[in-house]
Symmetry: C2
Subunit: 356 residues, 2 copies
Amino acid sequence: MQSSKRIRPVILSGGSGTRLWPLSTDAKPKQFLALVADRSMFQLTVQRVQRRDSFESPVIVGSIRHRDLIEQQLAEIGAEDSAIILEPAPRNTAAAIALAALASAPDETLLVMPSDHVIDDAEAFHAAVTAALPAARNGFLVTFGISPDRPEVGYGYIKQGEALISNAHRVDAFIEKPDVATARDFVERGCFLWNGGIFLFQASDFIAAMADHAPDVLDAAGKAMAARAEEGNCLFPEASSFSRSPAISIDYAVMEKARNVAVVPLDAGWSDLGSWDALFDHAMKDESGNVMTGDVHQIESYGCHIRTEGPLVAAVGVNDLIVLATRDHVLIVPRGQAQKVKAVVELLSLNRPDRK
Amino acid sequence: MQSSKRIRPVILSGGSGTRLWPLSTDAKPKQFLALVADRSMFQLTVQRVQRRDSFESPVIVGSIRHRDLIEQQLAEIGAEDSAIILEPAPRNTAAAIALAALASAPDETLLVMPSDHVIDDAEAFHAAVTAALPAARNGFLVTFGISPDRPEVGYGYIKQGEALISNAHRVDAFIEKPDVATARDFVERGCFLWNGGIFLFQASDFIAAMADHAPDVLDAAGKAMAARAEEGNCLFPEASSFSRSPAISIDYAVMEKARNVAVVPLDAGWSDLGSWDALFDHAMKDESGNVMTGDVHQIESYGCHIRTEGPLVAAVGVNDLIVLATRDHVLIVPRGQAQKVKAVVELLSLNRPDRK
């Protein structure tokens, strides 16, 4: 134990969220968009663990459909040495992480990260990872818990228990998305943290937990890896085996069931940017309180979030409005109602399957 | 007099308004857009006088830049026999009408019409024209006056005087765009009519009035016509002569100065559709009070005017908003503020001359 080995980052990029439609699409989901910087959130995630003193080159787990995007975005930031596991179909996070764990040496410590979240304070992030290392290297499956700054009902919560080692604590409970009264109570009581989907554990410990709690997922991932193809840095799990895995999250499959689970607090300016509202809150405002990206012009407009990747957008005399434009789609929704975007995407999918 | 000769329509299509930007552009101004029907307002104007029992084939006066549009739109409605006078440069209505008058026989009665207004009640329109004929054939320059239904400050007004013949009256005064208090007073008093820019007169009477009141316009138009080129139905006034004409409206140049001016009331569902607000007021609303044209989808949105010629537009939870989209431009402005579109166009023209 207390190995001096570097950590292996595992970056999950298989998601295809629709909450940032129309910019985020199945063909180019949120994590590949440059929404908060010149780089995409996927690239920012890779760069966050590009310190070769602490981290090995990363393992990317993504969709076969995004292979070109992944390779191109890795090349842009000098991360061509990453290993890329290309899922033949989406099977949620348990199966994705199983692929990465099976591709790793058993004693490697894996830092599993979504690629569609932002973390403003990289130093605080690395400090939390360092604080989590002793627990991970002592056989714990560590999850990182984010201190809630609002009674968010869209996230799962973790109830922090007794102190373990370094800054790690036992997990008393995982709580599914609460109602708003419960969420308010959680925020007041202070010992509840958001489940941010970031994990640190040894590959062998995760595989052992999978064997105990999600053997069908592990079996499917194992067979898919045994029959894999390879090409350069890319690894192609065999499709028919992998497709037999249940589509289940790591939380449901393992974390909520295993006993060797720990939580380490993370206070690093985390946001999942899960809606256009969240993105507005996160962004720098101009002197009129607007966030404007692309060829956007306004007159007498305040508190608006306007982005275009296509047509010029002119806004006159509008307040607190979100406007997103691409060459093919324009979305208009008031700020504070961005969660309704999902309903739009569903409506359009129903109306015209060709636009899905 | 009381000749049984048919009336010659003169249709002015040289305008290039920006108030319906971004759909209306210099390359395809408002009159060529199908905003209220399957046909453009230019086509609807031509069709309004396509009754061969009352009307000769029309004379179109338009811009050389719109030649293809004009010919194509005429062909679509079987009006290829129209004469087309193509102005080498815009010189406002006095010069445009002078070209048409000079191209006509002196004793022809000309019905001059803008091509970017709508008239819902064609029968009432024809009745007003018939009522105006005796005055026009007795040497009067007849203008049509629209009964105001609101204290509009964007139009000129005509004060109606003593009765002349048929339904024609003398004009006591032309009043420039009034302030709102004056406009309210006009609407209450009842003898004030909007100046709708529609005229009926004999070609010789108009030319005589031009010779008296705007000889420089007539001289430039006369020289341009003397040196004209022709090609099929198209007539090309000579450019350098025509460019020497002052750019002045028929109202300033002639109607406000001549003594032989009459007004005939017109109550035919007239609208100049001078803004997106006016177009919304004129259009049929759906059950949510929305006007939606093109690939538009809404959820929980009311009283909106949304048109697209390009991208799909999705509106969620917005009220009383105007949204216009083309492949290149998107405009968003609250209903009731559509007059600010001019400011947008000016802003964009200043910022980027290439987008003018």
